[in-house]
């Protein structure tokens, strides 16, 4: 995503909930993205940019503008279907895209638009894919997501739900796959996130500045070392980052074999009932996230401890909201967890 070395993921001090949520999103895309809310200077964007540098590469159809998965024929774009009618497609390894959606992006850059060069020079109507196309099978990151302009939010909500980007404008008619994990971060003091968009995020994480002096010193020390020598510092953490990368890979392979016993399902349902979350999305996310957490653990079944680990992230944004009382929703989830799962 960026030319300069990113801060190493492994070097982030504390913020375990945020790191776990990001790893879960990297293991199981169906969990449905992560939104990170918190004070300024707590390493929200650092963590996401660090994750980008950490992700193992993926296989993609050669020459495909949307990086279609060779193994998943159903999700192919029209170009790939036409090109590889039969037989195995030519594939190559590409980096998992982590696309930054800058706040100043224009709508045509997000959804794709007329290829200006060909339009202006040759008068042709050709489609040039936008950021959503680039983000296919990867991550779409929006920093300060609560400041995103409404018309872009509308667009994202629609595409995130359907997994497909449909462009019907300026005389173009294009549809292409756009399945991405949405990652947002922001500061709640700067504006509320639209409830519809908030609902699109599987996990919601709150970060705080560490309150103990030792971690704060460590944060500043590491950041300072990084700023003084970016490349060298990233190198010194390369091994630790490599361990996390292997953990992600192992968890992905392991994920389909993780079983969810009935008692865990019952606990999850009880938890959601105790909190009065609307709809089944909460339970589903809770289950999926717990399974990914178990896979990251190397466990073969989902237990109460996995539920406990991710309950707050999966449920706190699904409670009836009260913007003045943000800490309250976390506390409510914690209380329900204690009630249902025992202390």
């Amino acid at each position: 995503m960026s030319k300069r070395a990113a801060f190493p993921f492994a070097a982030i001090v504390g913020q375990d909930e945020m790191k776990l949520a990001l790893l879960i999103a990297a293991v199981d895309a169906t969990v449905g993205g992560v939104v990170v809310f918190g004070d300024r200077g707590t390493g929200k964007s650092t963590a996401v940019r660090a994750l980008a540098a950490l992700l193992p590469p993926m296989q993609a159809n050669a020459g495909c503008r949307y990086a279609c998965d060779p193994a998943d024929r159903d999700a192919w774009c029209e170009d790939c279907r036409a090109r590889y009618v039969s037989g195995a497609p030519a594939a190559h390894a590409v980096a998992v895209p982590v696309v930054d959606l800058p706040l100043g992006a224009t709508e045509d850059r997000v959804v794709g638009a007329l290829d200006l060069e060909r339009a202006l020079v040759h008068g042709e109507k050709a489609f040039e894919p936008g950021l959503l196309a680039r983000a296919n099978r990867g991550f779409l990151y929006i920093d300060e997501v609560n400041l995103l302009e409404d018309h872009l939010v509308d667009l994202l909500i629609d595409v995130a739900a359907s997994g497909e980007n449909v462009v019907e404008r300026e005389g173009l008619s294009i549809r292409h796959p756009a399945r991405f994990v949405l990652i947002g971060s922001g500061n709640p003091e700067e504006g509320e996130l639209r409830p519809q968009l908030l609902d699109r995020f599987g996990l919601s994480v709150e970060v705080r500045t560490p309150q103990d002096i030792a971690s704060r010193i460590e944060v500043v020390r590491r950041r300072d070392a990084f700023e003084r020598d970016r490349a060298g510092y990233a190198m010194s953490w390369a091994e630790a980052d490599g361990t996390i990368r292997s953990q992600i890979l192992a968890a992905r392979a392991h994920l389909p074999t993780v079983s969810v016993p009935d008692e865990s399902l019952i606990l999850a349902a009880k938890l959601c009932m105790a909190l009065g979350t609307d709809g089944l999305r909460g339970e589903l996310t809770l289950m999926r996230a717990a399974r990914a957490a178990a896979a990251l653990d190397g466990a073969s079944t989902v237990t109460a401890s996995h539920l406990r680990q991710i309950a707050a992230s999966a449920l706190r944004h699904r409670l009836r909201r009260d913007p003045l009382d943000d800490a309250g929703s976390t506390a409510r989830v914690a209380r329900a967890v204690d009630e249902v799962l025992g202390k």
Partner: protein, 584 residues
Amino acid sequence: MTDPAPAADPGPWADALLAAAVFAVMPAQMGVALRAPAGAVRDIWLAAVRACLPATDPWRRVPLGIADSRLLGGLDLAATLRAGKPVAERGVLAEADGGVAVLAMAERLPAATAGKLAAVLDTGEVPVARDGLYHIDAARIGVIALDEGIGPDEQVPASLRDRLGFLLDLTGIAPAQATPPEPRNVAAARTMLAQVSASDAILSALCGTALALGVESARAPLFALHAARAIAALDGRDAVSQADAAAAARLVLAPRATRLPSAEPPPEQPAEEPPPPPPEGEDAEKPEPPTDQQLEDMLLEAAQAAIPQGLLAQLAAEGLKPRGRADGRIGTPVNNGARGRPAGVRAGEPRGGQRLSVLDTLRAAAPWQAIRRRDGAAAGRLAIRKSDFRVIHRKQNTETTTIFVVDASGSSALNRLAEAKGAVELLLAECYVRRDRVAVLAFRGKTADLLLPPTRSLVRAKRSLAALPGGGGTPLAAGLDAAAALADAVRRRGGSPGLVILTDGRANVARDGAGGRARAEADALAAAKLVRAAGFTGVLIDTSPRPQQAGQDIARAMGARYIPLPYANATMLTQAVRAATASP
């Protein structure tokens, strides 16, 4: 660097110059929010910074209303048409790479622009994803945000302020005879900086000081560390001394303090015995180093001495002010063509955020092709002239929606529900004249109901009111919640909501529908605060027989005007409401 003014205190102007020198040493790491009215003092300070920077480094001024295409870069249309292929135009931030960007009137910067700047400061890069381009420009810039704000609510947006090392306030400071930083000194410090080391004791003392002053952001101690290093480098030393750290704490941490250290009350008047030992050099290396705790206390004292008087009072007052506005601008931007819903295509250049409509431009150019070719345009290529440009115009809906929130509970019915209805009808007529939209919410029993979604139909509004029965409890919290949600929806659609709440303020049903006056009132107050946090304007009309404390409390909590329903004087009521809702 001493000053004739009080005792051995380095003085605010000397401090400002020290900050200027530190910024010049490491512009990309520090950044400055400079609060000062336009005038000589600010100019002298800026000149001092500029004199210290290498003359070849770019220095760009960023005007307030800058279009994103100019700020971040975009398509250079004229060059594109000439070259026949997309030509990118670098934005101001990319142009300022390696130098300084000066933001004019940063206190009025919209939050979205501040967000973009914050991302650039974080990464040192400008991602350009606009107008058919995608590339990354380097932009390691030092930012000086000029803040001409007067009150505490006019400030550089918080997301940006947090990423700036110095929060300097030059208001009311006269430049004393302090010597400006020596450019050669700064140049030497720049090369020296990499070798300057800071001990763990210094690092932990800075972090501890930040914690004690209630500075949450982890960026602040990092800025302080940078500053301490730069101060040492400016002095030609390769290790950070206590005095350096104290100066850094004073410059960086003190302006960010949100509380005074709670552990111990300030033992002595800071003015009597200024803690940072001002003489440089000989005092730097003390024979026996103090313990970590002593060091931290020293930094704390240094910072504390620099905290302006009355800060605590200011902080206490801030708790009562409406929060949640991240940008300095007040009011809704009016129809400016660049924001809102597309509303047709018109001729004009894509400036100020307006988007070029390519097809319409091509369409406009098409008929002229033969003529232009005859006049000398190259064959085989579309000849497009400025006059062909079509931009998509956008229109923002800023009409007012007045939301009536009517208390239809038993107590209210007993009191003056009928009168309240009459007053609302008068107000409705008023709204009708102004072509406002109206919505009616009523709360009684356990819930609030939307009787009438926003509409222009006066008839429907009247009918919904007439059919409104009275009776049941007073779920004031639910009513206010519903009103806030509706107002929020109106605002999201681009309208400006105004709330008119008619109640006797005697809440007796809590949010969850349970009875009990105490909880109901607490919930109602919380809901009212929520309304204020969202920044909605409103009026509360007290319908109780006599003006009640409860109603006034609610009105105060929601930042609304309080009006007791006058007897038999509906005209006065409409006037009062108009005055309160017309000007937010």
